[in-house]
């Protein structure tokens, strides 16, 4: 790891802690967050030349506090005197105290506040908790900085308007608010994971960032089964990253991936996490998805996959968190255990469901099961339809490829009939 990368890691680790200290001292999320960003920028320019200070966190707190005061002064804000008074009591540098992890969690709750849109929650989380600059967040989402900046400033405005404060939500709200946090972390992960096949490396780094943030939440709430489940799901999914694309960038389906390229350490950690969570906490959707992911990656060959167990888990998942994507996966598991026709029958339950009526995955799965059932002409048509419906270039390429393979085969069928 280069010095620059180590510096970046250190700063991102410290960012939410410094913001937590400022928020507790001065309040005012928008102003504090801006001040922390400026302190981080100051560190990036000064530390490589002057060396990392002995107490980097205190350094950042001091610089951010000064920026905050400057900002308040220059604005002649009403709160000027209060803030200046508060700063007189700035504790001596180095007052490291426990509670950093709770600060991080409270910050996540604030950034994933229900008054914000998911896009704003994601952007603000990456900036305020992840310590990324607006430019970095913009680059990760392939939009100009001028597009990303309003998402962040509007999010901060909304937090202010909603009167949300930097403290843990009341106990009765906490489960719901934690769900929102986990959803945002999963969104960030998926954005990175799906992009890691393409040329968008910056976008791919979102995966690492999502795992890092989820680890922080897991450290704060080690007994929460769903937090552990989400972390496990991310690790077990990301473990396949190196094998999921061929050297020319084409997507490789899981059954054809070179399993020796899967990350064994991540698989081991993820599997241990989910096993532990499921034995000690109430069952939840992330744990179930992680358990299914574990079954997939623990088979040494695709044909050794424990589809019966996977089918049972999708059945439970469909009951506690029903959605069309779960039904699609359940249909595949049914096809693998009870035959493709049984899977296709389950798919019929999605006919007319507006949530998937135009979704390429429905047609891709139907095509796959029809192919397994030997209905090659119908399968080819559905692969083609799916290829038209997807907006993903690598998925489209994969689907055209599957249709093309069947072209060749249905051609042979015709010949054999003649």
């Amino acid at each position: 790891m280069s010095t620059t990368e180590r510096l970046g890691d250190l700063l991102r680790e410290l960012a939410p802690q410094v913001l937590g200290v400022l928020l507790r001292r001065y309040g005012g999320f928008e102003e504090c967050e801006d001040a922390v960003q400026e302190a981080l920028l100051a560190a990036v320019t000064q530390w490589p030349a002057d060396g990392v200070p002995d107490r980097p966190r205190s350094w950042l707190v001091t610089v951010a506090s000064r920026r905050l005061i400057d900002q308040v002064r220059s604005e002649q804000a009403r709160r000027r005197r209060e803030v200046t008074a508060a700063v007189r009591d700035v504790p001596v540098p180095g007052d490291e105290k426990p509670g950093d992890q709770d600060d991080t969690l409270a910050l996540l709750f604030l950034c994933c506040h229900p008054a914000l849109t998911p896009a704003s929650q994601v952007a603000l989380t990456l900036r305020a908790v992840g310590g990324l600059t607006t430019a970095e967040v913009a680059r990760a989402f392939l939009v100009p900085e001028a597009t990303m900046a309003p998402r962040i400033s509007r999010a901060k405005q909304r937090i202010k308007t909603a009167g949300a404060s930097f403290e843990m939500p009341p106990a009765q709200e906490r489960a719901e608010r934690l769900d929102a946090v986990l959803q945002v972390l999963y969104l960030i992960f998926n954005e990175g994971y799906t992009a890691s096949s393409g040329p968008d490396l910056h976008r791919g780094e979102l995966t690492t960032e999502a795992i890092r943030l989820t680890r922080m939440v897991h450290r704060s709430l080690p007994d929460d089964g769903e937090v552990a489940g989400l972390l496990a799901l991310m690790l077990l999914t990301d473990a396949r990253r190196a094998a999921r694309t061929s050297p020319d960038g084409a997507l490789v389906p899981m059954s054809e991936q070179d399993r020796s390229r899967w990350d064994a350490a991540m698989i081991e950690e993820g599997a241990a996490l989910v096993t532990d969570a499921m034995s000690s906490s109430p069952l939840g959707p992330y744990q179930l998805q992680a358990a299914i992911a574990a079954l997939h990656v623990q088979a040494s060959r695709a044909e050794d996959t424990d589809w019966e167990q996977i089918r049972i888990l999708y059945g439970i998942l469909g009951r506690i968190a029903p959605n069309p994507m779960v039904t699609l996966n359940h249909a595949i598991a049914l096809a693998m255990t009870r035959g493709p026709r049984t899977g296709l029958e389950l798919l019929e339950s999605l006919d007319g469901d507006p949530r998937v009526a135009r979704h390429h995955r429905l047609y891709a799965v139907r095509a796959h099961l029809q192919e397994l059932a030997g209905e090659h002409a119908a399968a080819r048509e559905n692969y083609r339809l799916a290829a038209r419906l997807t907006t993903s270039l690598p998925e489209q390429r994969y689907l055209w490829g599957r249709a093309g393979r069947l072209d060749a085969r249905t051609g042979e069928e015709h010949t054999s009939h003649e």
């Binding site: 704003s120 597009t147 990303m148 968008d200 999921r244 997507l251 389906p253 899981m254």
Partner: protein, 112 residues
């Protein structure tokens, strides 16, 4: 997801006539959904280029002789197709004949 909003106007409309999209620009700008936008010059000064068998021909545009042509476009980055349609609806149809909401391809994808 990214969408291109193609603004169609009738060829009889004078170029640049009433391009007041304040409501759309404010809405999409404030939410951080607007990525970029272009107003097109009149199609009568465009060129159509065709390369065939190593030979190139250049003719006066537009490429398609139709009653409606694209007079401008906006690129938005938003959560869903429904949201893109909602944004397109903020562009008054008195000024444009209609708006085509066109999803863009993405280089990201999930293995199946």
């Amino acid at each position: 997801m990214k969408f291109l909003l193609n603004l169609y106007v009738n060829s009889a409309t004078l170029p640049g006539e009433g391009l007041d999209h304040e409501e759309f620009l404010t809405a999409a700008g404030q939410t951080g959904e607007l990525v970029s936008g272009h107003a097109f010059a009149d199609p009568s000064i465009s060129a159509a280029v065709r390369v065939r068998d190593g030979g190139m021909t250049v003719t006066e545009g537009p490429f398609l002789e139709t009653a409606d042509h694209v007079a401008g476009q906006y690129l938005v980055d938003c959560a869903s197709r429904e949201r893109a349609v909602e944004l397109a609806a903020l562009i008054p149809s008195g000024q444009v004949g209609g708006v085509e909401v066109r999803p863009l391809m993405d280089s990201a994808g999930m293995e199946m």
